[in-house]
Amino acid sequence: MNNYMKVEFVAKSENESFARVTVASFIAQLDPTVDELTEIKTVVSEAVTNAIIHGYDEDEEGRVVLECEIKNSEVELRISDDGHGMDNIDEATQPLFTSKPELERSGMGFTIMENFMDALSVTSEYGKGTTVIMRKKFNQNQPTCN
C-alpha cells in the first residue's frame, strides 16, 4: 500500500495536537498497535514543537510543513520549517542539549526521535530553516492477537 499526504499549518502551539492526530489517522491505515501509534505521535510532537518553539519562536507568521509517505509497510515523516535553523546540528542532537533551558525544555527531543524511529536525519541552515526526516517500518511481526 502506498499513500501520501502533506499538511501545512500556522506555528501555534495549539497545532501540536492537531499534527499528532493528523499523522495518527493517516498511519491508522497500516493498523499499527496502540504502542506503535503512541510512539509515532510522540515523535511528531517532538519535531513539531521544535519547529514551532525553536524554529519560529512561536511567531504565527511561521508555517510548519509535515509530509507523510507510506511505501508498503514503511512510513517516512518529513517535518520542516523556514525558521531560525541551527549552526551546530551535532551539538543540538546530543542528549540533554537545549538552547532554551529557561523554558524547562528537557533537551531530549532528538534522542526520543532517534529511539522511537528506525532512522533520523536532520538538515538545517542557520537563518534558513530545518528539516527532520524519520523512517519506521510497521507490522514487522505478525499480529499476535485480534
Binding site: S17, V21, A24, T33, D35, L37, T144, N146
Partner: protein, 77 residues
C-alpha cells in the same frame, strides 16, 4: 500486580483499530448519558472531560465506527 502488568502490556500490543472501536462504544454511551443530563448534545470538551480522555483521542475514536461509510465500501460492496 502481575495481572495489571499483563493488562498494560496487552493494552499496548492490541491493534489500534480494535482499541478505537472499543473506545467508540464507551464514548457513545457517555454521550447519551450527558445528552439526557444536559438536555442537549455535549460539546467535545465536556465529553472529553467526562471520559477523562484528551480531545484528540476522542476525535479519533469518534471516527472509528464510521469506517463502513467509506466510499470504498459504498462503491465496491
Amino acid at each position: 500486580i502481575g495481572e495489571i502488568q499483563r493488562f498494560l502490556r496487552d493494552d499496548g500490543t492490541i491493534k489500534v483499530s480494535r482499541s478505537l472501536k472499543e473506545t467508540n462504544q464507551k464514548i457513545r454511551q457517555k454521550k447519551d448519558e450527558l445528552s439526557k443530563e444536559f438536555g442537549r448534545t455535549p460539546s467535545i470538551s465536556e465529553l472529553s472531560e467526562a471520559m477523562g480522555m484528551p480531545k484528540e483521542e476522542l476525535v479519533m475514536a469518534l471516527e472509528a465506527n464510521q469506517q463502513p461509510q467509506s466510499i470504498y465500501e459504498t462503491v465496491y460492496e
